[in-house]
């Protein structure tokens, strides 16, 4: 079994989940509470990866981050290399690809918070930031947890974008899903089977653990 690939996938998924927790909260907050009339454009862009074929997203990232385009050139001048075919490139692509999986549940959680509680917090002197951390976030924790779990699981399982942007470099960009594909190509069904099983069990374990704890955590103040 290719432990290197498994380790790389885990590392990638943890990084993506972390980044999306940090970036997803403010984006979801804006999407939920902004009254800007063109907001739907941003919402559509955030949701784009849900409907776009991974190869299309991967293709644009590959080209856009490459040395011929602006973003790629800026990156190259700062860091001395381009992003495609590196772990960094994989990370950028995965974050973008999983963005809606984080933003949409978090945003749904925010929307579920009774508007009057937010207003009550304001009239009691709390700033918007304080209201966010003391009222909105605690009351929508389930949405945030769901968003992070989904982006984690989605990153472990992604294939098309990783292949386009990362290539297939052992230890650098060969994630576990690509490794399974390689093993199948090479007719190593034994190895493919074992790796796939590990991935399946692991994903299941993570999801049940987090959903289980999450429900208990949420029920504390609903218990009579």
């Amino acid at each position: 079994m290719n432990w290197e690939a498994i380790e790389l996938s885990l590392k990638l998924a943890v990084c993506v989940a972390g980044i999306l927790l940090a970036a997803g909260l403010p984006i979801a907050y804006w999407v939920t509470f902004s009254r800007w009339r063109w907001k739907f454009l941003v919402e559509a862009i955030v949701a784009l990866p849900l409907v776009l074929p991974p190869t299309v997203l991967g293709y644009y990232l590959l080209v856009g981050l490459g040395p011929r385009h602006f973003a790629g050139r800026v990156w190259q001048s700062w860091f001395g290399h381009t992003l495609p075919f590196t772990f960094g490139g994989l990370l950028v692509a995965s974050v973008l690809y999983s963005l809606p999986f984080a933003v949409q549940p978090i945003s749904a959680g925010f929307e579920g918070v009774d508007r009057r509680l937010i207003e009550a917090s304001w009239t009691l002197g709390a700033s918007r930031l304080a209201t966010f951390f003391r009222v909105i976030l605690p009351l929508s924790a389930a949405g945030a947890v769901t968003g992070i779990v989904l982006s984690f699981a989605h990153t472990i399982g992604e294939f098309g974008v990783v292949l386009m942007v990362g290539g297939n470099i052992p230890g650098v960009t060969r994630t576990v899903s690509i490794d399974i594909y390689d093993q199948v190509q090479a007719a190593n069904y034994d190895v493919a089977n074992r790796t796939a099983l590990v991935l399946l069990l692991f994903s299941f374990l993570v999801l049940t653990t987090i959903y289980g704890t999450n429900r208990r955590a949420l029920s504390i103040w609903r218990r009579a």
Partner: protein, 360 residues
């Protein structure tokens, strides 16, 4: 100790333009649903931004469209009691009350929370979560939370509407006691006029987004300035009216002519009388009395409550069906017992000092 409000706000299909002042004594904001009560309250609290106008609380300008002043809700120091209380479900009673005291030093915070818990008789519930409290307890927590920040004004949005009737009177008494010791301005929104009458000294009556009347509650109830205000203050009986040459007033819809004690310079548009001011007597009274406003009447329908009876009555001729009535009288059961089995017509008395006139 005063609150001055003069604001205008336009929202899709509705225009709010209200102007009133409230001093130390609790003021009631009375009006039917959709008259703009809640929106006015929200504008004062800073949760809605008026299009134009000015809000001044104890000399502090909270909003002034001309000077471009709009103090945010969090800095207004206004205690708002929401209709559904809006308690934070993830915080205990103590944490809810302490929510607005973040900037207050710990010792002072604990003192204020303890004081509020004691005043609202909530000590034994201090560690409970809102979901485990009854409606009345939730209301007390919400009031304690609003008072803990020592607000310059207290705004109460229908504080009893979500409660069972049997809880209301006890909580209302408690609220009146609390308001007596409270030193800021109080604005009490209600569509229940009896409640507003008991709690408040002054009334502001809203109708269709503007102030229809304001002043002392006694004055507004005795002589409502318009038909709209008469309706909002619970007057059920009104008729189109015309003055006749001998100085009396003809009630066109009731088919009778009335003496009216009230001095009224303008031509009357309507004549009105409250249901509890109408008196009904046994038939003998018809023969004895011919100077006062006494007329023969027939019963169309009746509604009974434990102590009172509402009689739907028709003057002049027997009704053809239960909906064929002109006046509603509210009488004590004891009185009603004295004539209920006597033959009709009974005698209806619309006392000259109880009927009042309304301009067109």
């Amino acid at each position: 100790m005063s609150l001055e409000v003069a604001i205008e706000k336009n929202v899709a299909g509705f225009r709010l333009a209200v102007e009133f002042t409230a001093d130390g004594a609790p003021a009631g904001l009375l009006g039917p649903s959709g008259s703009g009560k809640t929106m006015t309250l929200r504008a004062i609290a800073g949760l809605e931004t008026p299009n134009r106008g000015r809000i001044v609380l104890q000399g502090r300008v909270l909003f002034d469209s001309e000077q471009g002043i709009n103090v945010p809700a969090r800095a207004r120091r206004i205690g708002l009691l929401f209709q559904n209380y809006a308690l934070f479900p993830h915080l205990t009673v103590t944490e809810n009350i302490a929510f607005g005291l973040r900037q207050v030093p710990d010792a002072e915070k604990n003192r204020r929370v303890a004081q509020q818990l004691a005043a609202a008789h909530l000590d034994w519930l201090s560690e409970r979560y809102p979901a485990t409290l009854s409606g009345g307890e939730q209301q007390r927590v919400a009031l304690a939370r609003a008072l803990a920040i020592e607000p310059a004004a207290l705004l109460l949005d229908e504080p009893f509407s979500a409660l069972d009737t049997h809880l209301r009177s006890a909580l209302e008494r408690q609220l009146r006691e609390t308001l007596e010791s409270y030193r800021g301005s109080t604005l009490f929104v209600s569509h229940n006029l009896e409640e507003a009458y008991r709690v408040c000294e002054k009334l502001v009556v809203l109708a269709n987004g503007s102030v229809a009347a304001q002043g002392s509650k006694e004055e507004i109830f005795r002589h409502p300035p318009t038909l709209e205000v008469a309706r909002v203050t619970g007057c059920k009986n009104y008729s189109r009216a015309r003055r006749v040459p001998d100085g009396r007033v003809e009630a066109l819809d009731w088919g009778c002519t009335l003496r009216v004690a009230q001095q009224f310079a303008k031509p009357p548009g309507h004549v009105a009388i409250r249901a509890n001011h109408i008196r009904v007597h046994p038939p003998q009274k018809l023969n004895l009395e011919n100077s006062g406003n006494v007329f023969p009447c027939w019963l169309a329908a009746m509604t009974e409550t434990p102590f009172r009876v509402t009689l739907d009555l028709r003057i002049g001729a027997p009704p053809t069906n239960p909906a064929d009535f002109q006046l509603q009288a509210e009488v004590f059961k004891q009185e009603w017992e004295s004539y209920r089995n006597l033959p009709q017509p009974w005698a209806i008395e619309l006392a000259a000092d109880r009927v009042f006139l309304l301009p067109d």
